[in-house]
Symmetry: D2
Subunit: 379 residues, 4 copies
């Protein structure tokens, strides 16, 4: 089996998820390539060594500039905070490395455009970690839409609800909290949560043409974890928008970290002429499907338990009825990429797909300021 | 329109439900006969007058023996406690009245045999109020089974869970509490709750051949509401049994008033070769249906919202999506009876059907004593 | 008991629901007043006679102008199409009658202003039939919000989804279809469905300050049922908007008749600092409630089965666990009104409350045209 | 870190699940010991080599008798069919190895007694793979019961429903189908599915005193996959029983492979004086909890999303809202065992616990034959 040497940047939540995916994929999926945990990179030498030891990374680096030049590394995987993505991705591409990058691609679309330009110029395979596409229920939704099961689409609605930043005492910035620091994150829930909703939406339902949005920052000031000072909060705590898709369908999108009782309630629903589909991340193993062509008296929403061998990815796991979890989406993304290497057809979401999402989030933020509908730039 | 003069005995919970059904049915259902609230009977003259005034009963009686002889009464409806059923029903039949009777028919099968003999000898139309058959979801279940949608049946399971008698301070006997007094009720949950489960089960799945049961009285002594004395509790607080149906399917049944968190959770599920059906009374407007012949990847339990015009009884009510409630089952039973008067084909559950259920409850109670399987007598 | 003589205009879907409420309320609720079904009015003499006979209306009229002058009528109840509301309501008020009116109040806010002026000038009791406020689960939601159980409110979201007009072959206008005729209905889903969402929202969460909306007509032309000609469709098939409430919370609203699989899925959710509430009309007997102050490990969304005697209105009905249905909301509205007559404190929603909702729907329609945020006029 | 050298027997469904657990546990859990995949054993030399290569087992054996004697192996993990458990486990114990064994322990209680005797005589740590105890929701249920949250227990009910053997064309015996061969499996669903239900039940609710059971074989003959001949089916396709626990509570248990629409629906519910708990394997990340001490009007079943850091095991995984899957239960069992090695307190389920379950399944099978209640032998 051919080896694919990985160089990972970052060891946070996503660093763990990616490490697990790289070291596990070949146990459950057959592919011509096998990922090798070659090197992990982070600034704190002691912590990165511990992380490497725990996860089996063969070596460590403390400067990503060294990492991206290493001959024994084929692919750079960026799992560090958003404000580091562009520089690392561009450098990796220039060094001819394949590149994976956590979402959102850049701090904004302008940055993302540069990243896309770099990878496309270098001609290197690239993927952005919009991992939810590869939860089996979501992949099945894609298949059903593509097969025309829903007919003409009228409506799309999505929301991503969390409740972890309601407390005013939560500081902004610093380890585990950089998502609250606008300089590091770029935006609040728009880039963090809505971006997921938008990526799935365009994958399932095509391009978004125009949007009108609204954002809010409920807690206006927070202590900064690094400076210790109370500073103005720059991120959006909540963000919602109306949209029109190119196919004529209407949409509503919403995300917030102030929806008490929801931890990671990403939901979407799509209504078509012949049927509808609904899904939520807090029950990721189920897909709700309504087929109007079923006989009248027994027509109803079907709750499909996505654990059968005829469901996407599931024949690689256990037996019918037994759930998989969140982390499996990362494994599936790697599995598909490895297969793409073999076939020469790298699957999405590419960096260009990531840019398309950034165009939408930029338009939402811009509309939220202007109060007007904004036409979305197409990637 | 022809009039059907009703004489009601009892003004408790069931007296209200029946009164509502009789006075409402003709507003929503067309029939050749219209019920007239002719007379209501109870021992307390003052209370029965108030009840008659509130509900529009034309006259009152304080002795059912007078009521059953009234020339201007066509049908005697028995909604008084269980220990009164036999005597009233037999007298009504002898006087040539049609008879409705609350369930269970008698205090035990021996009593019920006499009642059945009386109505069949008199040749008078009769129905027992196993009203749950006529919730639209349950009627639809019956249709699906009869159409063969499930194929060969392997399993039936039912339970009826409540939690209202857990407190040791609850007295036994007296108004509203006669269900705890074995002399008045005949048995505890077996006759009260299991009887409902059994009636539906045999309607859907045919005769029960044999059972093995278990009962328990968790609170052994209670103050009697009428005598004021602490007395031994004679009823069963919980009752469960295993059963074999004539068609070869296996079943489990359970009922209790000690299942914390459940108010009236009557549920049944039936599993066949090609499909399955599940229902529960606490969401009485839904039917769960699984059709194995659906395409593999989109196969799932269908949650059918039983509010469409192609669902049983529903075209008589509102518009799709809008629920009806518990009391509508009584209205439906009257509507079907009125139609039966017209066609000459009185629908079930007849008193003989009620006797069949009593044979099963008797067998369960007998088995619970002997610890052995008991063959069920067939009605 | 005092009599309250009702004169009803209209015998369609709402005419039936109101008739049932008037004739049933006194059976389940005690009040100093009892509604009398005095007269029903509609243009078709034959049909209105049949309706009166079926429901027990004492007399009929074919001209509402006669009805509103009848000395033996205390209250005019308007259940005819939207384009008739203003004229009838104003005339009724001028004749000193109490007035009930189906929603939306007028074809638009300008009309509604005139109606409000008339009833307030006449000083007559008035209510608009936003009946969903009086489903017990919704009333309980109101109580919880008013008790401060949720703390500061961050988010409100509501939608009302149906699917009954997807077919292009459905004609517009005529009996049962006037809701598709803009001249009769005033608007499409905005006035029909969103209006319900807005009424509940402002009742629960206070005034709406500003909105930005979007509407769509998916089927552009339909045969008109009365003229037989294919005509341009004037109503909105779908309508969505973003909103900001006076209390600082953000909201999303959506309604459509193109959401396959949903018959009457009116849902709302409200997220506060300490807790959240969610409800949907297709399971109207349940309320979902999350209390963040519950102990961490056992914290979860509570599914409250709204059938206990300590739930609003429920002690008047059956026993715990047994559902009521859609029509009970009308009965509750009448019951509350009768009690209001006794106490002299007429409960809402008043016509002024109805006007407040019309100001919002007007703003939504205006914003959908201009593409801009619109400030909502306050009633 | 100290090494714990594992020798695995079997490479089927369970061989994969165990391999994954051993190689993954140290990534997510800190412990003094780290499992080493030392050797895997199976009769087919070629297949076992492939399996070892895929999963990273350092060496292979084709005779378990060699494996159990290897000096470099500390722990024998038995994941081969049921008829091999006893011999291997006893030999492993005699060689002083720690032993893990898939459930059920032996083909019957008589065999299991010998196994227990062997490990207890040898004094070696041992665990049986009743892995469902270690799904976080189930572990939380145990904590709530132990804290007395439910008060006195009245009822326990469990079922395990599958539908994979309904087809008459399915052969018995052979790879992947040995569970249908009574000689290899010992029994049908009783040992396979009910055993899981019983283990959890006794863990949560204490010892079972007596049972009355019923079994059925719906498909009486099947082709044997190895002999090619149509042979009588010896296993039970369905098995149900009533039980009484030592604490006075009543129970119903059922398992079947003929419940259309259910893949792995293991459910249990426990009703106590103050509260109730319900759970099902097809939504393994949820626990339903009812607390009667909640305030009346807002009392309801809580749906607890078991993904928070204050839920058992979950702080080792992702962030709140993100599910884990089936295989994590195996990882947790290994994690607890490793911690037990450190503290010297090996956690259950021990082989003796496994024997206790076998006493119950033996009693159920015996009762199903005799038709009588059977007293359960205590382990």
């Amino acid at each position: 089996m051919k080896k694919l040497n990985i160089g990972l940047v970052g060891y946070g939540f996503m660093g763990r998820a990616h490490s697990h995916a790289f070291r596990t994929v070949s146990k459950f999926f057959d592919a011509a390539y096998e990922p090798v945990l070659k090197a992990v990179c982070a600034r704190d030498a002691s912590k990165v060594k511990d992380f490497a030891a725990q996860w089996g990374w063969e070596s460590v680096e403390t400067d990503w500039k060294t990492l991206v030049k290493r001959k024994d590394v084929d692919l750079i995987d960026i799992a560090s905070p958003n404000d580091t993505h562009a520089e690392i991705a561009i450098a990796a591409a220039k060094n001819g490395k394949m590149v994976f990058c956590e979402k959102p691609l850049g701090l904004n679309a302008a940055e993302s455009e540069k990243i896309v330009k770099a990878v496309e110029k270098a001609g290197v395979p690239n993927m952005v970690w919009y991992n939810y596409r590869r939860l089996p229920a979501v992949t099945l939704a894609k298949q059903l839409v593509d097969e025309g099961k829903l007919g003409r689409i009228f409506h799309y609605r999505a929301k991503f609800l969390q409740d972890w930043t309601i407390s005013k005492d939560l500081p902004q910035g610093g380890a585990g909290l950089w998502r609250l620091d606008v300089k590091v994150a770029g935006s609040g829930v728009t880039g963090d949560l809505l971006a997921h909703c938008i990526d799935t939406a365009m994958w399932l339902n095509g391009d978004i043409e125009s949007v009108t949005g609204m954002t809010e920052t409920f807690v206006k000031q927070r202590k900064h974890a690094l400076t210790g000072k109370v500073e103005k909060v720059g991120i959006d705590d909540a963000s919602a928008f109306l949209a029109r898709f190119k196919n004529g369908s209407l949409a509503t999108f919403e995300s917030t970290r102030y929806a008490r009782g929801h931890k990671a309630l990403y939901t979407f629903e799509i209504n078509g002429e012949h049927g509808s589909i609904a899904w939520d991340l807090e029950n990721l193993h189920l897909l709700q499907y309504f087929d109007h062509r079923d006989e009248g008296a027994t027509r109803g929403w079907r709750s499909i338990h996505i654990t059968d061998s005829d469901h996407p990815y599931m024949k690689h796991w256990w037996v019918p009825g037994l759930q998989i979890g969140y982390e499996h989406s990362f494994i599936h993304q790697v599995a598909d990429f490895l297969q793409g290497l073999e076939t020469g057809k790298i699957p999405g979401p590419s960096f260009r797909d990531g840019l398309a999402t950034d165009y939408v989030t930029d338009a939402v933020l811009s509309s939220a300021k202007s109060g007007k509908w904004v036409k979305v730039k197409q990637a």
